[in-house]
C-alpha cells in the first residue's frame, strides 16, 4: 500500500493574519480611550505660540460653567489638590495640562493654579489651539 505523503502547504494563512490585525486594532483603540478622558464640549483658546508636550502629564478640564473635571470625573478644588498630590507622588516631574474653555473667567483658572500650587505641581501647560 502506498500512502500519499501529506505535504504541508507552503502558503501563509492570510485570513488568520487579518484576525490578528483586527484584534490589535481593537486593543489600540480601547487602550487609547483611557479612564482619564472625558467628553466635554470645549472651545480651547487660541495662541500663536504652542509648544509640543511629551513628558508625563495629567489633565484638568474646565468647562464653560467653571466646573472642574479630572481623573475622569467632576470634582472640587480640594479634591483636585489631593488628586494632584497623588499624581506627583508617583512621578514628581508630572505636568498638569489645563484645558479650559476660552470663554470662562480668569478666576476659575486662578483657583486651579492655587490648588495645583498647594499640591506642589510646578509645571503646568495651558493647552491652546494653534492660531
Amino acid at each position: 500500500m502506498i500512502r500519499k505523503r501529506i505535504r504541508p502547504s507552503s502558503a501563509i494563512p492570510v485570513s488568520a493574519m487579518a484576525d490578528i490585525a483586527f484584534l490589535l486594532l481593537i486593543f489600540f483603540i480601547l487602550s487609547n480611550v483611557s479612564e482619564d478622558t472625558i467628553d466635554i464640549k470645549m472651545d480651547l483658546p487660541q495662541s500663536h505660540i504652542s509648544e509640543q508636550e511629551t513628558q508625563r502629564y495629567f489633565n484638568v478640564w474646565v468647562d464653560e460653567k467653571g466646573d472642574i473635571f479630572f481623573g475622569g470625573k467632576k470634582g472640587t478644588a480640594q479634591e483636585l489638590t489631593s488628586y494632584a498630590r497623588f499624581k506627583m507622588a508617583s512621578n514628581p516631574q508630572t505636568k498638569a495640562l489645563i484645558r479650559a474653555s476660552k470663554t470662562i473667567k480668569y478666576e476659575h483658572i486662578n483657583a486651579i493654579f492655587e490648588s495645583l500650587k498647594e499640591a506642589g505641581v510646578h509645571n503646568i501647560v495651558l493647552v491652546s489651539k494653534k492660531k
Binding site: 490585525a21 486594532l25 480668569y106
Partner: protein
C-alpha cells in the same frame, strides 16, 4: 481577505500615530513653590501689566491697547533682556484674553513672568 488585513494594519498605524499628537500643544508655565519664600525685588525693576475687564490694558499705569502691547514689550525686552513682568488680572477677565497676553509675552521672549489675580479696582 488579504486586503482586509492590509486595511486593518493601516488603521492600526493611523491610530498609533494620531494618538500621540492629539491636543498636547500649549503654553508651558512654571508655578511658584509655595514652601519657598518669595524673592523680593525692587519695585522699579518690575513692569506691571494690568488686565481689566472690557479689554482695558494698563502698561505701567498707562492705558494701552492689545495691538500696542507687543511693541511695548519688545522695547522693554530690548532695553532689559531679563525684565520682570507682573501680570495682574482682574477676576472677570475672559480666559482667551489672558492667553492672548501670555502669547504675546512668549513671542516677545519675556522670561520672568508673574501672575496675580486682583479684585476689581
Amino acid at each position: 481577505m488579504a486586503s482586509s488585513s492590509d486595511i486593518a494594519f493601516l488603521l492600526i498605524i493611523f491610530f498609533l500615530v494620531t494618538s500621540s499628537f492629539i491636543f498636547k500643544d500649549g503654553l508651558p508655565m512654571v508655578l511658584p513653590d509655595k514652601s519657598k519664600r518669595p524673592k523680593v525685588v525692587e519695585n522699579k525693576e518690575i513692569t506691571t501689566i494690568v488686565l481689566k475687564e472690557n479689554d482695558i490694558i494698563k502698561f505701567n499705569d498707562r492705558r494701552i491697547y492689545m495691538e500696542d502691547l507687543q511693541r511695548e514689550l519688545k522695547l522693554l525686552v530690548q532695553k532689559k533682556p531679563d525684565a520682570i513682568v507682573l501680570l495682574k488680572i482682574e477676576k472677570n477677565v475672559i480666559y482667551q484674553k489672558v492667553i492672548d497676553v501670555i502669547d504675546i509675552m512668549k513671542s516677545t521672549k519675556v522670561k520672568k513672568l508673574s501672575f496675580r489675580m486682583i479684585e476689581k479696582g
